[in-house]
């Protein structure tokens, strides 16, 4: 399927023969690897999906892809490895995920870089194109979202731009596939750009002194970043370069320090970009007001906060809670598993497998089927699936950055910028995934606080479903539970913000256009997250089942449970609730489910139920989340979070129970 970008067919044809000539010469000299690079929210991931037919998350929130994703593309005569990178505004990186993308760009010396840009925002994107051109690598400019640019009357003249830049410029619409074949064809033939796109003077002169002559374009770019005060490259090059003190003095004298160098160079590149775009983008005024009214409604606290409540109510309470955790779970668990699968499989295993221990491993109370598979398919799948579907729709619409903006002031009180709202909301789906996404936050302080709050006060959707089930037994308990969670969230955040040193949080982000969620995108995102969830989390669930079975078999489980009993009894819960807390570490919802059973037996009164629900929600993160915390934040932070969560859980749980009994007269 090939649709030429409007307005440029003739020149494209001419450029193609030029490409093909060079392509013949270079075809076998270069291994095929394409690196997709660009600002967040320009459709890199959607383009990646189109190029590879492999679906990864496409997001309308700056920075949901936090790692490199690669997939093979096989067309023509040889396979191509296509790599998707996190969003990057400039090689002068700000956040951790941007540094991941920058490292990929600098290291991929053999790759063809495809710079993906929003066709309506060329003047913002072209400075990065110029920076990439200075790297002297094969480069293609993909002007994505051409349909939106055309609709707004902002479509650039691609042929003219191609002629000026001397690299292939292709218009694409990743969501429909328009121009993608053309992009692939031209990327396969892309060649190292013509000379003359190095650093502008006088910035280059200084950079050459750091990098030494003849060390190549990459060294020059690293020198540029060091001179611009990049916290990674400045110390590194200052240590390596003997003449650094002298060069730093020269920088001070010429540019007034690293800031002056950075601003001067960025300004100079912007001027180059504007000159290149002169006549390329329509000069007629673009109607930018179409969305202003809706934006005002979303961003003004008077209307925005009621709208948040409405969105939360409809999307999460009604859809995820009532439909996902209610109707869908009831049917799959009660009817599908309860009536059909479990009785049949239990009968089969008991009659076919002679050893009782193995029978228990498969179908016993902690068996793989009842705990592992049933939980995964009957409880987790519908709840988490419903959550991811709603989250993907919100993400695609562009609502989440607006939510971040609206909550920024409140979040500052707990040491976070509004940006942290994204991982925190995602945490209601899966805390483990959300802990990974904290990479998009800028300072270590914000990442640690968010990690702590996720582990402590944000129940994941699987746990939430069961906790709400427990609380439905005691009228009014849900409100108390919600108020306690909110108080702990704010209180712990407030303390953490005061205890942890570091820079105060700063809000800065691009607001993507608001658009109706596109069903294709939403389904793809949901599917990708579900696949990730089942690949990363489901094996751990099964492992947890095996460990629990093993612990039960050997008596280790009972021994560990006894250790927890005093703590459980200290908050006026029956000792029988202790196993539930232990299971909670393996899976957050396991613990809650254990309590659910106790509540069903009438072993817990309303006060004890509320205590138990509060404690189990706050209690330690699940084992998968712990592993990701250790990987992302280090062992000491992970262990500290564990200790804080345990302490806070029992302290707050106990206090809530005591208050309910003493003040509320609950049983």
């Amino acid at each position: 399927m090939f649709y030429p970008a409007r307005g440029s067919p003739s020149v494209e044809a001419a450029a193609e023969s030029h490409d093909e000539r060079l392509g013949r010469e270079l075809k076998h000299a270069r291994p095929a690897r394409w690196l997709l690079v660009g600002a967040p929210n320009v459709g890199k991931s959607a383009l990646f999906n189109r190029l590879t037919n492999l679906y990864v998350t496409v997001s309308n929130y700056p920075g949901t892809s936090v790692e490199l994703t690669s997939a093979l593309r096989s067309d023509g005569d040889r396979p191509v490895e296509v790599v998707d990178t996190p969003g990057l505004y400039s090689l002068l990186a700000v956040t951790e995920d941007e540094r991941v993308a920058r490292r990929a760009v600098l290291d991929a010396s053999d790759a063809t870089i495809i710079h993906v840009v929003d066709a309506s925002h060329l003047e913002r994107a072209l400075p990065l194109t110029l920076q990439l051109l200075a790297l002297q690598r094969p480069l293609v400019l993909a002007c994505n979202l051409m349909d939106e640019a055309e609709a707004r009357g902002a479509a650039p003249d691609l042929a003219a731009l191609e002629e000026r830049l001397g690299i292939p410029v292709v218009g694409t619409v990743a969501t429909t596939g328009r121009g993608v074949d053309d992009l692939a064809r031209r990327a396969a033939l892309a060649h190292t750009p013509v000379d003359g796109w190095g650093l502008p003077e006088p910035y280059a002169a200084l950079a050459r002194r750091v990098a030494h002559e003849g060390e190549g374009a990459r060294a020059l770019i690293e020198a540029e970043l060091a001179l611009a005060g990049d916290p990674e490259f400045e110390p590194q090059l200052a240590a390596e370069c003997g003449a650094w003190p002298e060069i730093a003095n020269e920088r001070e004298r010429q540019h007034g320090g690293p800031e002056g160098y950075a601003v001067g160079l960025a300004t100079s590149r912007r001027r180059m970009a504007l000159a290149l775009l002169d006549g390329v983008i329509p000069s007629a005024g673009i109607n930018a007001r179409d969305q202003k009214r809706l934006d005002n409604l979303l961003l003004s606290p008077w209307t925005g906060i009621p709208l948040i409540a409405l969105v939360l109510y409809l999307a999460f309470y009604q859809f995820v809670g009532r439909f996902g955790a209610g109707t869908a779970v009831d049917w799959i668990e009660g009817v599908l598993f309860g009536r059909w699968i479990e009785p049949a499989s239990e009968a089969a295993v008991r009659s076919l497998v002679p050893w009782e221990a193995v029978q228990d491993l498969l179908v016993g109370p902690y068996g793989l089927l009842p705990l592992g598979v049933r939980y995964a398919v009957a409880i987790v799948l519908p709840i988490v699936g419903a959550f991811f579907l709603v989250f993907a729709a919100l993400e695609d619409s562009g609502y989440l950055p607006r939510l971040a903006l609206l909550l920024d002031r409140a979040f500052k009180a707990i040491g976070l910028s509004g940006r942290a709202v994204i991982p925190l909301v995602l945490g209601f789906g899966c805390n483990t995934m959300a802990t990974l996404v904290t990479r998009t936050l800028e300072t270590r302080r914000e990442r640690v606080i968010t990690t702590l709050l996720l582990a402590l006060a944000i129940p994941c959707s699987a746990q939430l479903g069961v906790v709400l089930g427990i609380l439905s037994i005691a009228p009014g308990a849900v409100m108390i539970w919600m108020a306690v969670m909110l108080a702990v969230f704010l209180g712990v955040g407030w303390f953490a913000a005061r205890l942890l040193p570091g820079e105060p949080p700063v809000l800065h982000m691009e607001l993507p256009r608001l658009r109706l969620p596109r069903p294709g995108n939403v389904l793809v995102k949901t599917g990708t997250r579900m696949r990730w969830y089942f690949a990363e989390i489901f094996p751990l669930f099964l492992l947890a089942s095996v460990l629990l079975w093993f612990g039960d078999l050997t008596g280790l489980l009972q021994a560990a449970t006894r250790l927890l009993e005093p703590a459980v009894e200290a908050i006026s819960l029956p000792a029988a609730a202790a196993p539930a807390f232990l299971y909670g570490f393996f899976r957050r919802d396991f613990g809650a489910a254990g309590l659910y059973d106790l509540a069903g037996q009438g072993a817990l009164g309303p006060a004890a139920l509320t205590t138990a629900a509060v404690t189990i929600t706050l209690f330690v993160p699940c084992v998968a989340q712990f592993l990701v915390m250790r990987k992302e934040r280090g062992l000491s932070v992970a262990v500290t979070v564990l200790v804080v969560a345990t302490t806070v859980a029992f302290a707050v749980g106990g206090a809530v129970g005591w208050t309910l009994r003493a003040v509320g007269g609950w049983q």
Partner: protein, 98 residues
Amino acid sequence: MNCSMCGSSAGCQGCPIGAGFYLPHTLDTLRSGQRATIQRLAAASGSALRKLLALGLLPGVELEVERSWPAMVVRLGNASVALDEALAGAVVVSIDGG
């Protein structure tokens, strides 16, 4: 560039209010609907500066303030960017038009 204290663009000689010093406008003092051109960036730290550069806030850039509360929303060309008061306070601007 007009002084935010007295509004004059004539410079500090003959300052009508006798303040005797020039007080530039910063982005955080602008109201919704005002247009301005960025004159310089006065970021206190390298990290704040890199954020401004990443947002595309550079000397010479023309902008329009869309919102000033609960955070600043600024339109640059076709794009909207959001930033808080602390960051906006580091952007020295001259107000365009009336």
